[in-house]
Symmetry: C2
Subunit: 175 residues, 2 copies
C-alpha cells in the first residue's frame, strides 16, 4: 500500500504537550492551542489536550550537589514541597492558556523521573496523536545534565512530534 492511498481520518485526537517552568514550553503550548486546536472560524475541536509536567526526582538534585553529604529530612521535605509547588504553578499557568478551548477536554498529568523517558513513556502509553514541546525544556543548567529533551523525544517516540521554538524577539531578554 502506498502512502498516497492511506486515509488519515480527521477524528478527536489526543494531543500531549510537555510543559515545564520555562517560558519556551508556554509558548509551545500557545502555538499548539492556536494552530492545532482552534480552527480558522474560531470553533475549537473536540480533542483531548493532555498537559504533562515531569518532576525531576530528588536523587538528581543530590547528585548535582556533589558534596556527598546527605540532606536532613527537613531539607528534603522542603525540597519536595517546593517541587510540588512548582508543578502546580506550571499547571495553573498552562490551564490559563487553554481557557478558551470550550470543546477540548483538558487533562493534566504530573510524572516523576527523567523527562526524556517520562515524556516518551506517557506518549506511548496514552497512544497520543502528536507530542508538542519547546526546545529549551528544563532550563539552561538542567539541560546541560539531561541533554536535549526535545531531540531525544523526537528520535524516540513513534507519533508526530512538534518542536516549537520561541521567536528571538520575545526571548531577547533571556540570554
Amino acid at each position: 500500500m502506498s502512502a498516497a492511498d492511506e486515509v488519515v481520518e480527521v477524528k478527536a485526537r489526543k494531543i500531549l504537550v510537555a510543559v515545564d517552568e520555562g517560558e519556551e514550553s508556554m509558548y509551545a503550548l500557545s502555538w499548539a492551542v492556536n494552530n492545532l486546536l482552534v480552527s480558522s472560524n474560531n470553533t475549537t475541536t473536540k480533542d483531548t489536550l493532555i498537559l504533562l509536567y515531569v518532576k525531576i526526582p530528588r536523587v538528581v538534585y543530590t547528585t548535582l550537589d556533589g558534596t556527598g553529604y546527605l540532606f536532613s529530612a527537613d531539607i528534603l521535605s522542603s525540597m519536595e514541597k517546593y517541587s510540588n509547588d512548582v508543578a502546580q504553578c506550571v499547571m495553573e499557568k498552562s490551564r490559563r492558556l487553554c481557557k478558551d478551548l470550550q470543546d477540548v477536554k483538558v487533562e493534566t498529568k504530573i510524572e516523576n523521573g527523567d523527562p526524556r523517558d517520562a515524556i516518551c513513556e506517557v506518549a506511548e502509553k496514552l497512544g497520543v496523536d502528536v507530542l508538542v514541546m519547546g526546545t529549551h525544556g528544563y532550563g539552561m543548567i538542567k539541560r546541560a545534565f539531561l541533554g536535549s529533551v526535545s531531540s531525544h523525544c523526537a528520535y524516540k517516540v513513534k507519533c508526530p512530534v512538534l518542536i516549537v521554538k520561541r521567536p528571538k524577539s520575545s526571548s531577547a531578554t533571556r540570554e
Copy 2:
C-alpha cells in the same frame, strides 16, 4: 513580557512541507493536511501550503559512484532528465494529496542542493510559520551520506518544526 501574556494570533499561515520520493514524506504531508489544514467541521483554512522538493546536485551522485571515472555527456544528460522526472512525479503525487483543500493556496518549489541547507534556507527566506517533514527523508542510502535531514533542520530553523513518522503498521513491508 512573559510567554503567558503573548497573544499568538490565528491568521493565514505559510506551511512548508518538505517532500521527497519516500513514502514517509507523503505520510507527513497527509498528516499536515488533515491536522493543520482541515478543521474538525471539514472547512479548510485560508493558509498557503508550500511543497518543497530538493534535487540533490549531480556532484553528489558522482562522488557516490566512487570510481573516479567521469560520466559522459549523454549519461549526465539522462541523469538530469531522470532527476527532473522524479521531481515532477513527487510534486504530482503531493498535489493529489492536497486536492480537497479548496481555500488553501498550494505552491510548489523545486530547489537544488543539500536538502538540509536548502530546506532551512527556504524556511527562513519565506518566513514560514511551520516546517513539516518526515524523518526518513531521502532514502536509506542517501540518508547515510547526508545525515538525518529532519534532525538537522529541527535544530537549525527558527520556526516550529513538525516531524511526522510513518506508523509501523504501514511500513512493515518496507524494512
